[in-house]
């Protein structure tokens, strides 16, 4: 595994200081939560993402993007996770961008994504568990286009997104890869019901009742959408893994600070070996999860055939490590960790949502087994 280049280190530092200052919990997450923001994030901050070029991190340089990849996205996402900064970076700049790459939709949407005016997201889940192969939302040919019927859920930022990349079945039956097609569904086409999630982010349930689209709404090829969908999902999984590493690292840094200052029995609780060993174990697990997330990103960028396996490894590992980090975090904070006033609980909430996104620990363990032939 190669280490970061100087350019990558610079990007990491830029993202770290930007998100530490502008993306801080008090300025963003708590502010928008406590003012009842319907988008779940600040559009002014998203414009700042755009000013730094980050909205176009995965967009080629030709239309004006940074032309970078999954690895650079991961570096930014770890900082996003560390600060719990709400934004559509993962959904739009990483997943949405990847889902339309190389198509006419890219020409149509990239400029607005770059400027921060348009946000994209991906609609794939139809039930409470992630199962993309089971996609049942129907798209039937009618006239010059298609008519969509069915529903989606857990569409992050789906209530405010300008375009939803929607996985639908144009042929075959649930369980089959063949017959899946991706559609570009503009805002206002499907019925939107907003779901406020445990971490104060917003997701949508989308209901499609005879939603008619032209045939140019198809992204890529009809019936052959599975590989494009998988690539977008894997980019999302590797990205979510990196964000989870940030969540774990942020929660653990906060917990270590607490261990260093909280006094009981006349000494700082960080002196107790029972806590030291748990903290040291956690440190190692976070390092390992980070290595797994970066490895997946590197394999995605190099187009390696093992990218899918390693995206599953990264997502499963990072989700379980983040879960451990936030549980230990709340426990080691004691009573204060249970209060809304303290930030540690916010890490627990974010970890749960990211852990579920694009497949949970169990989904990805099963993927690892399947991809390994057992």
């Amino acid at each position: 595994m190669s280490l970061l280049t100087d350019d990558q280190k610079m990007l990491q530092e830029t993202a770290a200081s930007f998100l530490r200052e502008e993306g801080a919990i008090s300025k963003q997450l708590r502010h928008w939560r406590d003012t009842g923001c319907t988008d779940g994030y600040g559009t002014a901050l998203w414009k700042q993402f755009g000013d730094l070029g980050l909205t176009g991190i995965c967009i080629p340089e030709d239309p004006g993007g940074l032309g970078l990849g999954a690895l650079e996205s991961a570096l930014v996402l770890e900082e996003v996770g560390r600060n719990l900064t709400p934004s559509p970076f993962l959904a739009s700049a990483v997943v949405g961008t990847r889902a339309i790459e190389g198509t006419a939709h890219a020409d149509r949407w990239y400029p607005a994504i770059l400027s921060g005016e348009a946000v994209l997201t991906l609609a794939v889940d139809e039930n409470k568990r992630h199962a993309p192969l089971e996609t049942a939302l129907k798209a039937e040919r009618r006239g010059n286009g298609f008519v969509l019927n069915g529903s989606k859920q857990f569409v992050v930022h789906g209530n405010s997104a300008d375009m939803v990349v929607t996985a639908a079945r144009t042929s075959g039956s649930p369980g089959q890869a063949e017959g899946l097609t991706l559609f570009a569904i503009p805002k206002g086409s499907a019925q939107v019901e907003t779901a406020s999630l445990v971490d104060s982010s917003k997701a949508a349930r989308l209901v499609f009742e005879d939603v008619a689209v032209d045939s140019d709404a198809v992204i890529g090829e009809v019936d052959k959408g599975w590989s494009r969908l998988s690539r977008a999902l894997d980019a999302g999984r590797a990205g979510a893994a990196a964000e989870l590493v940030g969540v774990a690292a942020g929660a653990t840094a906060m917990t270590l600070d607490y261990l260093r200052q909280r006094k009981q029995f006349g000494k700082t609780i960080g002196e107790f070996q029972a806590l030291q060993h748990r903290a040291a174990h956690l440190y190692g697990e976070i390092e390992i999860a980070r290595a797994a997330a970066l490895k997946a990103a590197q394999l995605i960028d190099s187009g390696d055939e093992k990218a899918e396996l390693h995206a599953a490894v990264a997502k499963a590992k990072a989700a379980s490590v983040a879960s451990l980090a936030v549980r230990e975090g709340v426990q080691m904070h004691g009573g204060i960790g249970m209060t809304d006033e303290h930030d540690i609980g916010l890490f627990m909430k974010r970890s749960a949502v990211l852990g579920e996104l694009f497949g949970d620990v169990y989904y990805h363990r099963n993927r690892v087994a399947e991809l390994s032939g057992y």
């Binding site: 070996q273 060993h277 040291a280 174990h281 190692g284 390092e287 390992i288 490895k295 363990r365 057992y374």
Partner: protein, 389 residues
Amino acid sequence: MSDLDRFRAETREWLEANCPAEMRHPIRSEADLCWGGRNWAFQSDAQKRWLEVMADRGWTVPEWPKDYGGGGLTPVEGRVLKQEMARIGARSPLTSFGISMLGPALLKFGTEEQKRHYLPQIARGEIRWCQGYSEPGAGSDLAGLQTKAEDKGDHWLVNGQKVWTSYADKADWIFCLVRTSSESKQGGISFLLFDMLTPGVSTKPILLISGSSPFCETFFDDVKVPKGQIVGEVNRGWDVAKYLLGHEREMIAGMGLGSGIGTGGTSNTLGGWLTPADPMLRADIAAFDVDALAFAAMSERFAAMWKAGEAHPASPSMMKYAGTELNKQRMELVIAAGGSDALEWDSERSNNGKAPRDWLRSKGNSIEGGTSEIQLNIVAKHILGLPGA
């Protein structure tokens, strides 16, 4: 053609001409290793020839200086050599604690005379070394060791006992931690080298739960050691020991490096035992494989960071802890997948007992070279900076 390309081409050609066909298989078991030493019985002519031609070229220790029996290669050339050996499946010509442990310590702390005397013997596999660290009363608390070396003017007089000395019964020389002063715990330790044939040295193998005896008790009874055989300064042996323990931990950490169970890494150990129809076991193995592949990524990253000087100096402790715990878990799952077959002590069903023996042997992984608990202490203190750790 760049210099490196030329080096690669020459290396490839040389290996092709000089690596015996029998040596072009990866090491399958302990029995395939070549340890060298005064009493070494080569398993084949090929094993002997392979050691000789590699030693002549300095390639048993490719990156040591030529003056000390090494190949004088740069790290980049060393990597090319490794790649070219791997390309034809060439096994390492020599396995030795002299190479992996004592050598690096001598290179850093030895006098010029010591380097010129001991290093070439190590490089040629002429002397097999063992390590005398732990004692019955000094395990995790290693610096509490009591084996005494008294200054008798022209020699040191050594009395005491070591334990967990790997292959002491087969070794020619020992590098040993001894107490030369009782005034300070860590500051009264010296790093001493001596011949195992010196009168007063005796060894007794320890039978492990796995049925093998890789370790010994080693006794010193009025052992006379010449004055010049201390490495580093008198009473400063702890510095040498700590440096060397770092190397040992890196080595042990590498044991967990193999990939997952179901992902092919240990499929031969599993020997077709895994029954995917058992959904609970499959789930545990899948969970393990996630951890194993993630740790493999960590190992790659750690190696790159360590080389570049970007790793925390205490990070080998984290690697040792994670790698050994993972390996124990691996063996638990392998033995579970093997069912009652895997419990047969010496039948073909258990790969001639390899399965149960490896499982039992793995329990020592998180004890030897510093227990998991000691590694966690080190991480808590040196990396996390927790108070009083």
